[in-house]
Symmetry: C2
Subunit: 330 residues, 2 copies
């Protein structure tokens, strides 16, 4: 069992072990987002102006390193770049779907250009990702990536057609499984596949990634409600305002004495006073503590899942990452 | 050189040689469009209510048979199904982009459900396609498919951001290259790749497919202007009304004495009298004949390109198909 180090630093320093490869991922993304046509290049440039936290490529790389110390990184870097491009594709499409105003602190792509271009840009990013995956010559890698895109789409179609129905906890968990946990599980799995890890290690990393993904999304949904909107880079309580009930809100509505008052405060959370009121109600009800506790349990299970993975700095980094995910505030 | 038979029958009978495999393609599509969730299944069912002409899977299969008589069809069928799913994905997304009302005689998917579901359904179809392609264990096949999706997206992004600018003939040809010809070329190429055809045959089939694709799109753009809207299954002059200048219209506007009168008639083509007027002006100007002649030259070049392909019924069928493409009226 890896013993987690104290949680320090940010997501970036957690990936310090694989920083050279993360830089190579960034270079490769820049390379595949280079287009002859200047108009198309404007779109490609826009995508790169506000890079994300690189959690998924970081997991591919750390997963590969943990599965096989000193791995051949020739396959890891394109796979890591591909998962980031797939993630970016889903964000571009999700922002159209959710009518999001901003993404990573700048106007969502469909607003900066138009919806048509955003639909096409998502498809373009999927194509670029599958070109990179095909280049690894490893059909299982392509299959794993296609599988997770399928899972995410089915989950979102279901969520959309289900719109307005108040979710149960089980429905919520199924939703974040499809939305996030499967993708983080696949990222770790792809790292293991890339270095031809033994099946037990591959499955262990997949289980680790799934629990980190659940923890990550639980915290994301907490932050959607409680975070400072400036630090978060987007509006607060956006999920609720789009009719999506997340676990903190679900717990809250079940427990506060006046659910309608909470719903009202959430609906008006763009007003900082109403936002503070919603957070106060949720905090008093114990909803936020319970969601935090669940996220912490998921993180602990992630760490426990690492047992079959060879001990070493990459496994340590994964364990620290699982702990970090639940204490982050952005 | 194959000597084309007289053109008879419809697209279906042209694929008669590969009908058993086309039936297997349909079964496989039905299988991969089977979803556990009943709400998601409603979307999957809707996609299958109005099957298309199966031109792309037909080309994969005929290409494979032409490249290697009596081919092992285990790889051809999933690849053929995958190209149809990719085609379907692009149609679902294009209909959102073009605000199309109908597709194949029924309301476009984004109208039957909503835009969000349509964005996700396109992504879902891409994922299903790449799952099938990965299952062939042939990375070159995955790469060829990803390449053509990339090409189509870049072409469409450029077209969208270029909106409103009157195209030149060269720009028009570049557009239909990216939109259709590359995909039909890739369909034939995938057939050759699936059966490990020699490079000369693979390239010959790719060249054939490209010319058929150019001819096909030229005729599509003619039909957009001249066809019976009922037989076509969509509104006439839809391209023009969306600001897309096709070659028949481009030639017409360059040649009619009063371009504004032609533009006006096209803009009002939902009125059958105005539609007849637009067709009369275009016909008198010689624009339609010149587009037909170009389509015929492309079809002839497609047939000529088949020379290195082994003579046999599959090559014959491809030659007939090239001829058929330019005389079809739907």
């Amino acid at each position: 069992m890896s013993k987690p180090q104290p949680v320090t630093g940010d997501a970036m320093s957690l990936f310090g072990l694989v920083q050279p490869e993360l830089n190579a991922v960034d270079r490769l993304i820049r390379e595949v987002l280079t287009e002859e046509d200047p108009m198309v290049q404007r779109v490609a440039d826009y995508l790169q102006q506000a890079p994300g936290k690189r959690v998924r490529p970081g997991l591919v790389l750390l997963g590969g390193h943990a599965a096989r110390p000193k791995p051949e990184t020739g396959r890891l870097v394109p796979i890591a770049a591909a998962v980031e491009l797939i993630h970016l594709a889903t964000l571009v499409h999700d922002d159209i779907i959710d009518r999001a105003e901003t993404r990573r602190g700048q106007p969502a792509l469909y607003r900066a250009f138009n919806e048509q271009v955003a639909v096409l840009t998502g498809d373009f990013l999927f194509a670029r990702a599958f070109q990179l995956l095909a280049g690894t010559g490893h059909p299982e890698v392509v299959a794993a990536a296609a599988d997770v895109v399928h899972t995410m789409c089915v989950g979102e179609i279901r969520q959309n057609l289900d719109h307005g129905r108040v979710a149960t906890e089980a429905e919520y968990l199924r939703r974040i499984d499809a939305k996030t946990a499967q993708f983080l599980a696949t990222s770790c799995r792809l790292g293991a596949l890339a270095v031809d890890a033994p099946p037990a290690v591959r499955e262990a990393l997949t289980t680790y990634g799934w629990h980190v993904g659940m923890a990550y999304q639980l915290v994301d949904d907490l932050l959607d409600v409680v975070a400072d909107p400036v630090r978060l880079g987007k509006a607060v309580a956006a999920d609720f305002q789009q009719g999506v009930i997340t676990l903190p809100v679900l717990y809250g509505l079940e427990r506060v004495p006046e659910p309608a008052a909470l719903a009202q405060a959430l609906a008006e959370a763009q007003d900082p006073r109403r936002h503070a009121e919603a957070v106060r109600l949720l905090e008093q009800s114990g909803a936020l503590d319970d969601v935090r506790a669940l996220a912490e349990r998921m993180a602990a299970e992630a760490v426990a899942a690492l047992e079959p993975v060879p001990a070493g700095p990459a496994r340590e980094a994964l364990a620290v990452l699982a702990r970090f995910v639940v204490v982050r505030d952005f």
